[in-house]
Every structure is written in C-alpha cells, then in structure tokens.
C-alpha cells in the first residue's frame, strides 16, 4: 500500500474500530531462517516487510511446527541446538542441546521427531514428547532431507554424498534398505503411495517404490531439482530447481509439468499462503520471493544471509507494531 494512502487510511480505521489491524491480524507472520546470518527473520505478511530478527546461535537451517502447534522448532546445526519459538509471537521458549540438527520432521502420528545430522552422518529418532534419543542410525553419507509414510511406520532419508535413499523401520527401529537412487538426492516427499526424490545432481525427480527402493519413474523438472512440496489441496506438486533457477508446478496425480516460473537466486524452501501465493526462499539473493501462480510474477522481501527454511503462521497477530532490531 502506498505510504500516503496508508497515512490517510490508518486514522480512518482507528475511528472505525481498527479495521486495518483486524485485516493485518488475518495475514499473520512468516518466519524465515537466515542460515549464514544465524538469525530468524520475522516478516509481517501484511506489509511483506521484515520487522525484526531473532538471533540464533550459529547456523540454523530448517524448522517445523510441533504436533500440538505450540512451538516452532528450529534446528541450529553448527550450534547443536534446537530453538523453540512461540509461533504466534516469536518469543524464545527454550533451547535444547541436540547434535547437528539439519532437516527435522515430526512423524504424522506425532510420536517421533527424526533429525538428520548432515555433517555427522547420522539419522536420529527422538521421542517427540520428551526429546529423548530413541535410536541413532549411522549412515553414509550426509543425510539431507526426509519423509514419512502416512502411517509413521517408515522414514525415508536422502543420502546426498553417496547418491542413495535409505529407509528405516520406526516400529522395529531397524534399517530396511539403502539403495542407489540418483546423483545428489535432496528433497524427499511421500505422494500417492510412492516416495519422490529430487535429484539435485540431475534435472529429474525419481519416483521410488517404498517397499524395495526401486525407481519406477523419472520425471524431468529442471537442472538441480532440489526440493518438493505438495500444495495444501494436494493437487499441485511444486519443485524447486536449484541450478536452473526455476520453480515448476506439476499435476500431483500425473506428474505432468503444468507451469514453470523463473525464480533466480537458488530457490529452496516453499510455504503456502492462504491467498494462494507461494513464499519461496532464494538462498543466494538474501530474499524471499512471493509468487503469484496466477500471474507468474513475484514480489521480493529482503531478509538475511542465505535464507533457507521458512514457515508461515497466517493466524498469528501482525507484528507490524513490534519495534525492529
């Protein structure tokens, strides 16, 4: 909104019962992790401006909401720490020592938290209620991303440096299989009874049989296919291509490419806003792109160095009045 318009608009709204504030509340907050800046940007989704930064310890990468929705858990890899934030306010709730937390996800049944230790070559399964380590799986090498089966019985982990995909049985806490999958596998996603793997060293995503790890299909998406995300209505599969600098929309059922959008600057993680737009971190541009798939255009938001994980909390109160620092 132009500054002059807002200057006129705000006093009117104040008189009319702060309609503007209600509107801003509806749009919420985005949390963007600045990996190389060691901080978390708090972005007002209404104004699309960064309003403040939450300091992390060393090098945070990914974040996930706890099953009860009360905390955002940020994995600080080099800091060996989980940072718990109140998703509504960004207030730090606690810091927990955990070795090398890179990619992390809670299982669909809420029982487990799986943490990939990318630098330490380990996949750790924690009790999601107590954060006690249940099982450590040593792997070769560099466990990157992960996905669960819907019944939480198996977790799949891409092993970036050995070009493999590994499956671990969470009922017996034993390895199931580890198989070659493609060059430099990164993002992993469960979709329609299969495991999808983004192959960053190539231009494809691999469709893998979860029972034995065999590849049943390869689909070209773009150079350096890095990460995959399913739209909230489960109809569109979104893939970010790191080397090609593009984001593609695919039919989630047929895996046919529907549209391609140029997103330069190393597109990485995606989250979906209620208005249908996609928020995409651009690792080497210090920016978040807000892509409108209808028009194919995107707006940019300045954040910190090497923005990686991001999480939208549309229900959170607007932080517009919070002083920046």
């Amino acid at each position: 909104m132009p500054r002059l318009s807002r200057l006129l608009f705000l006093p009117v709204c104040a008189l009319l019962g702060c309609i503007y504030v209600s509107y801003a509340h509806a749009l919420g907050v985005a949390y963007v992790i600045n990996s190389a800046g060691s901080s978390i940007s708090v972005v007002d989704m209404a104004t699309q401006k960064e309003v403040r930064r939450i300091p992390a310890l060393r090098e945070p990468h990914h974040l996930i909401l706890t099953p009860d929705g009360r905390s955002l858990v940020v994995g600080d890899t080099a800091g060996n720490q989980l940072l718990f934030l109140d998703p509504a306010t960004g207030a730090v709730q606690q810091r927990l020592p955990v070795a090398d937390p890179y990619q992390l996800q809670f299982s669909p049944n809420g029982k487990f938290l799986t943490v990939n230790g990318l630098a330490r070559n380990q996949v750790d399964v924690y009790d999601a209620a107590t954060y006690k380590l249940i099982k450590r799986f040593p792997v070769v090498a560099t466990p990157s991303h992960l996905a669960y089966t819907p019944d939480s019985g198996t977790v799949f982990v891409s092993l970036q440096d050995s070009d493999k995909l590994a499956a671990f049985d969470l009922r017996t806490m034993t390895p199931k299989w580890t198989v070659p999958v493609c060059k430099t596998p990164a993002g992993v996603l469960w979709l329609n009874g299969h495991v999808l793997v983004a192959c960053m060293g190539t231009d494809i995503i691999a469709v893998v049989d979860p029972n034995d790890g065999k590849i049943v299909q390869r689909v070209v998406t773009g150079k350096g296919a890095h990460n995959l995300f399913l739209s909230p209505d489960a109809k569109i599969l979104w893939v970010n291509n790191r080397a090609g600098g593009s984001t593609v929309a695919m039919d989630a059922r047929t895996l046919k490419v529907l549209a391609r959008y140029e997103i330069p600057g190393g597109p990485d993680d995606i989250d979906f806003a209620p208005d249908g737009r996609l928020w995409i971190t651009r690792r080497w541009a210090e920016k978040v792109a807000v892509l409108d798939p209808k028009t194919g255009t995107f707006q940019t938001i300045d954040v910190g160095r090497s923005p990686h994980g991001l999480f939208l909390v549309p229900a959170a109160p607007s932080p517009a009045g919070t002083p920046g620092r």
């Binding site: 190389a36 800046g37 060691s38 930064r53 939450i54 300091p55 310890l57 060393r58 090098e59 890899t77 080099a78 800091g79 060996n80 720490q81 020592p97 955990v98 070795a99 090398d100 230790g117 630098a119 330490r120 560099t142 970036q160 440096d161 060059k183 430099t184 960053m200 060293g201 150079k223 350096g224 790191r242 080397a243 600098g245 330069p264 600057g265 190393g266 690792r283 080497w284 541009a285 210090e286 160095r305 090497s306 620092r325």
Partner: protein, 315 residues
C-alpha cells in the same frame, strides 16, 4: 555494505560456481561453494583495501627504499594464496567439519560447548559487541601463539620464514610456512571450540582486523602517537618485533592488533624506531627464494630443529 558482498557472492554462485558444480557432478558442494565465494570475495576486498591504503603510505613515507623488489613479489603470492585462493576454501571446509564433529559429540553428551552468547545471554542479538569481545579474546590467543612460536627451536624454525623478509611491506603479513599456518589453524580451531567462534557472522569486521594486521607490516614511517600506540598496533610498533636483534636484545611486541598483551606481560617495547628487519640466522633462500624455495628451506630448518621442546633465544 555486507549486502554488496552477499549479492556479489550470490552472483558468483549462481552464474559461475553452480553451473560448474552441476556440469562436473559436484552439486553436493553447492552449500560450501557459497561460503567459499563469500570468503574469497572478502579476501579479495581485504587485498584491494590494503593495497589502496598501504601502497600510497609506503610511497609517501617509506622506511626503506630498495632498487630490487623481487622479494616483495613473492609476498604477494602468499597474500593471494592466503586470502583469496585455496587456503580460505580448505580452512572453511576443515574448520566447519572439525567443529561440527567435536561440538556434535559434546552435544550428544548433553553438553553444548560454551559460547560467549550462552555464557552471557545479554549478548544474543548484539552482533557487533559480541564480535568485538571475540576479537579481543582471539587477539589474546594469537599473542600467546606468537610468543610460543619464538620460544621453541622447532617452531621458530618454521616461523623464521615470516621473519626472514628484509624488505618488509604490507604484503608480508601472510608470509608464513604452510606448517606454521597449519599450527595456527589448529590453535585457533581449539580456541574456537572452547568459546564457539562464529564462522561467517562478522566478515566485514574480520576484514578490518586483517587490514590492521597488514598495515602493521607496512614499510612506512607511521606511528599512532603515545596514546594511539597503546590502543592499536602501529607499523612502528610491529616493525620493532621484526627488527634484527643487537647483542643483549630480546624480541618484543608479539601482539597482532592490540598492544595490551605486550604491555600486560612486559614484552612491549615502544622505544625502538624503524629498525632494519630480517633474520641473519637463516639460510638465504628463506629471504630471497621463490615461494617453493622458501617453503623447502623452512622445512629443512624445521627438520634440523626437531626434536621439539628446546628453547631458543633468537627472534
């Protein structure tokens, strides 16, 4: 200003490094390559800023003038290798891997290595202040490392390469034997593990510190005045450290950026004025050889000085 470097590194990453990594099947290095791009660009900026400031100073008020400056060219090679080329990359990768392994093991035991920010939570979010405190601690650690390098015969054998330069200029700061660099790397690696030095959070301030270290080696008649020399190390103060020792003289002024440690431990000498530099006790190749000849000469001297532990007076 940090943003300019970040955007330049991003451009380098997107247009040169990523296409190369993708083409060569090395995309698993894509995160590391961005770190290297930042390191290399800040290193390049260090070289350019140092060159732009120090060269006019050296032309303006040189301590010495030399007809032949071949030895200075070799020092330039050291600087480029150290600040822009392979060394920053190796340092970044090794440092990162080592730090992750050790601190991760400690986290497994339920103990996170202390950092200034965890010891003093008030520092969280105050990046500039935190950096200044880290810089002071690291400068003290460097004083200790440098002092010990002059006390042990084997270590001095390596470190004497740094002191062999008779044509000391701002390029001489990085003139070190590779093994001496490795020791320094391990030394700071251990310190970093103890206090959790953040690797890439304060690159611009690191640039300033490295500039001051280069300036202290410059061939220029420059003093910061009575008070200034007790706050920051000047070219005059550090030149005394590189001076050829007369009979009965001891080495002095081991500090890198801050003279406080020399003052605290009685090794400061503010009286020596623009002395001649060099190390007459070493073979000539250490002073005037090529980069490879200097390295080999340093290695020979080191091997002659082993076994470790004997103390020496020179330097």
């Amino acid at each position: 200003m940090d943003d300019w470097f970040d955007l330049a590194a991003g451009w380098l990453q997107e247009n040169l490094l990523i296409p190369f990594l993708y083409w060569s099947g090395l995309m698993n290095w894509e995160d590391v390559s961005y770190g290297w791009a930042l390191f290399a660009l800040y290193g390049l900026a260090q070289v350019i800023v140092t060159f732009a400031v120090c060269l006019p100073l050296e032309r303006w008020r040189p301590v010495e003038r030399w007809a032949n400056q071949d030895a200075v060219w070799v020092d330039m090679v050291y600087t480029v290798l150290s600040r822009v080329g392979v060394l920053p990359f190796v340092t970044y990768v090794l440092f990162y891997r080592a730090q992750v392994t050790v601190t991760g093991w400690m986290a497994d035991q339920g103990w996170v290595a202390p950092t200034l920010e965890s010891l003093f939570p008030v520092l969280l979010g105050k990046q500039a202040l935190t950096f200044v405190l880290y810089a002071i601690i690291l400068d003290f650690a460097d004083y200790g490392r440098h002092f010990l390098a002059h006390q042990f015969r084997w270590w001095w054998a390596l470190h004497s390469l740094h002191h062999a330069q008779r044509q000391m200029t701002f390029w001489s700061d990085d003139r070190n034997h590779l093994l001496d660099d490795v020791i320094a790397f391990v030394w700071f690696g251990v310190i970093a593990l103890l206090i959790g030095v953040p690797p890439l959070q304060f690159p611009l301030l690191v640039l300033v510190l490295r500039f001051l270290e280069s300036l202290s080696h410059a061939n220029v008649r420059l003093s910061f005045g009575w008070l200034g020399e007790r706050l920051l190390i000047s070219p005059r103060f550090h030149r005394a450290h590189h001076g050829i020792l007369a009979a009965g003289q001891k080495s002095c002024n081991y500090g890198a950026v801050l003279p406080w440690w020399d003052m605290l431990f009685g090794t400061a000498d503010f009286s020596r004025d623009y002395v001649a530099t060099g190390d007459p006790s070493g073979e000539e190749a250490l002073a005037s050889g090529t980069w490879a000849q200097q390295q080999m000469a340093g290695l020979r001297r080191f091997l002659r000085a082993v076994p470790v532990g004997r103390r020496v007076a020179q330097g």
